[in-house]
């Protein structure tokens, strides 16, 4: 279960409910820009908790194929 997490900075404007719902610290809050950010994508196991809490539809998580190390 490997995830690709994308945040749309235009739409992101709530106080970090996604960050506060992530069980894996994949997300963190950028206090200067006041936006959520992806900090540790490899730990995402695609639970969609963040997607469910976002009131602005600003975050998306996609299940993607696992790739061996060294291949992007």
């Amino acid at each position: 279960m490997v995830g690709k997490v994308t945040i749309d900075p235009e739409k992101c404007r709530c106080p970090a409910r996604c960050v506060q719902s992530c069980p894996q610290d994949v997300l963190d809050w950028d206090f200067e820009r006041k936006k959520a950010m992806v900090v540790d994508e490899v730990e995402c196991f695609v639970c969609y908790n963040c997607v469910e809490v976002c009131p602005f539809d600003a975050i998306s998580v996609k299940e993607v194929d696992w790739k061996p190390p060294g291949k992007d």
Partner: protein, 566 residues
């Protein structure tokens, strides 16, 4: 940061919105008292409860392998706990689990609903959060509680801060219920949510509460150990998973050794897979996960691992099992990985702590005004936990702690807070925010260091020397690195304070593990590999006395099921 201050006065303060905290808050509310429920994350969404399978065991519930009588469920709970559970607590638990489960319907919980992948427990925690709010429970989210406040001997509330605004939060309370969960996240390999770091142990310890069985930390053998996969993924039972075989680097099924070690009958040739082997001997998958985990770690320690892990081989599983609808979770988990061509690396990881704050039948700790429930407590599970018992324990003792907390609140006045104490607590946290950025004080690096030392030295397989080393390494981090610990924003401040609490929880686990000189279920020492009922059919307890950690042992509370004669 930490400039403005908000003060709230309440009757019952409950900390944590997992199943135990929610149940305690709901119960307290039934007594007509004002209840404040605090959560450092998004309420009801992130906890071991929320990310559990969502199964509750009782001797009448279906689904999990059924135990049809009180005696069956009780007996299995004590056996799996290797005779360390407090039998008085276990009796209450076994009796009350079923009525507590049935009652969940009132909170909007429908256990017949299929559990969502990964966060099956949210079908419990989300409706309960809503129900609690509807009943008038005041919920404070994004609020990280850092310390309990005391007046005289009694707990009088707590202090913390808002992890976004940085405002200080002081809650004055007549009763306080800790339901902050366990501490498996202090291990580098774990499947718990990142917030489960054991702050409740530290907070209770600081005010003088006793801890029991802290050395008992439960592993699961089947966490992925393959680069570019998240570490928290573990394998649920599916037709594909059941037909896979664990092998060491030489291709041997190390389980043969495990069987010999446990003096089980030698498996015949047809038992090529681990799980079918378990089923053959009347065990439910999961019943022996502590032993399996230990066997895996020993394989690796003795040099038969592959890249520090064990290989799980599904290459010979016939195609029809891959296409079976029931295998969907395995197939989707491994998407992109050529599991039909090569084995996948697996290795154990910690899934929960079994010890914790000592409570009595009413959910009271040793400290007046302080109650506790759920994974933060110890006593019911002993040295090992029966699958499905974790969540049932949360509702049984959550309800009991909530009731006791409410009854106390009805009989006393709101205590004043000690202004000097508040100031002193604040100052300790403020200090972190005043320090400049430095490599030495980087909370992410320090946390990673602690987590790997816990896993390496205080993990599934332990020995006296390693445990002693772990304690001096923990001290080393405290003395040499904590003076540099810094935080640039309130959320980082939460992580920094969490690290300080993780160090304390780690010390409690390692110290208790060093004291217990035998092995049973979740605690295995290479230098004391036998279960020694003559000398160690005891609980290890610890608490803070005169600023020092004092340890002692007490005989196990046995009411109806003595251990078999040695």
């Amino acid at each position: 940061m930490l400039e403005r201050e908000r003060v709230r006065e309440t009757d019952v303060l409950v900390i944590g919105t997992g199943t135990a905290g929610l149940r305690a808050a709901i119960e307290a509310g039934r007594y007509g008292v004002d209840v404040t429920l605090v959560e450092k994350m998004e309420p009801g969404r992130v906890s071991n409860s929320a990310y559990a399978g969502g199964g509750f065991r009782s001797f009448r519930s279906q689904g999990l392998k059924a135990f049809h009588t009180f005696n069956d469920h009780f007996k299995r709970t004590i056996e799996i706990g290797d005779y360390l559970p407090n039998q008085r607590l276990a009796e209450i638990f076994t009796l009350e689990a079923y009525p507590r489960i049935v009652e969940m319907e009132e909170f909007g919980v429908d256990l017949r609903r299929p559990a969502a992948p990964h966060r099956g427990g949210q079908r419990v925690t989300l409706p309960m959060t809503k129900y609690a709010r509807d009943q008038g429970v005041h919920v404070l989210s994004n609020t990280f509680i850092t310390d309990l406040l005391t007046v005289g001997d009694a707990v009088a509330g707590a202090i913390g801060f808002d992890v976004f605004s940085g405002d200080l939060v002081v809650v004055r309370a007549k009763s306080t219920v800790l339901a902050t969960g366990g501490a498996a996240e202090i291990y580098s390999r774990n499947d718990t949510t990142a917030n489960v770091i054991g702050e409740g142990y530290e907070m209770a310890y600081q005010v003088g509460a006793s801890m029991i069985d802290m050395e008992m930390v439960m592993p699961d053998p089947t966490l992925l150990a393959e680069p570019n996969f998240p570490t928290a993924l573990f394998f649920r039972q599916t037709p594909v998973r059941e037909r896979g075989v664990f092998r060491n680097a030489a291709g041997e099924t190390y389980l043969l050794k495990f069987v010999k070690e446990h003096k089980l009958a030698a498996p015949d040739a047809t038992f090529s897979t681990d799980d079918r082997y378990q089923l053959r001997y009347g065990l439910e998958p999961g019943d022996i996960r502590e032993h399996e985990s230990r066997a895996m770690v020993i394989e690796v320690l003795e040099g038969r691992g592959d890249d520090g892990a064990i290989l799980f081989d599904m290459t010979r599983v016939p195609r029809e099992h891959w296409s079976n609808e029931k295998s969907k979770s395995t197939v989707s988990m491994l998407r992109g990985f050529p599991a039909d061509e090569r084995p996948i690396h697996m290795y154990p990881g910690m899934i929960c702590t079994l010890g914790g704050i000592r409570i009595n039948e009413d959910g009271e700790t040793d400290v007046p005004g302080l109650y506790a429930a759920g994974e933060v407590t110890g006593g019911v599970h002993g040295a090992g936990r029966l699958g499905g018992n974790a969540l049932s324990v949360c509702i049984v003792f959550g309800a009991r702690a909530g009731r006791s907390a409410a009854l106390r609140a009805r009989s006393i006045q709101t205590p004043d807070v000690d202004a000097t104490q508040v100031e002193e607590r604040k100052e300790r946290i403020r200090e972190i925010t005043r320090r400049g950025r430095s490599d030495k004080g980087d909370v992410k690096k320090l946390t990673a260091e602690l987590k790997s030392l816990m896993w390496e030295r205080v993990g599934v397989v332990r020995d006296g020397q390693g445990l002693e080393t772990s304690l001096s390494e923990i001290d080393g981090i405290r003395e040499e690195r904590l003076p540099y610990l810094y935080a640039e924003n309130p959320r980082q401040l939460m992580r920094a304070v969490e690290l300080m609490k993780m160090l304390d929880a780690g010390e409690m686990i390692a110290t208790a593990a060093l004291m217990r000189r035998d092995s049973r279920t979740c605690h295995y020492r290479l230098d004391h590999p036998e279960t020694d009922n003559r000398n160690w059919l005891k609980n290890v307890l610890l608490r803070k006395e005169d600023g020092e950690m004092r340890l002692w042992t007490e005989p196990v509370v046995i009411t109806r099921m003595p251990p078999p004669e040695a």
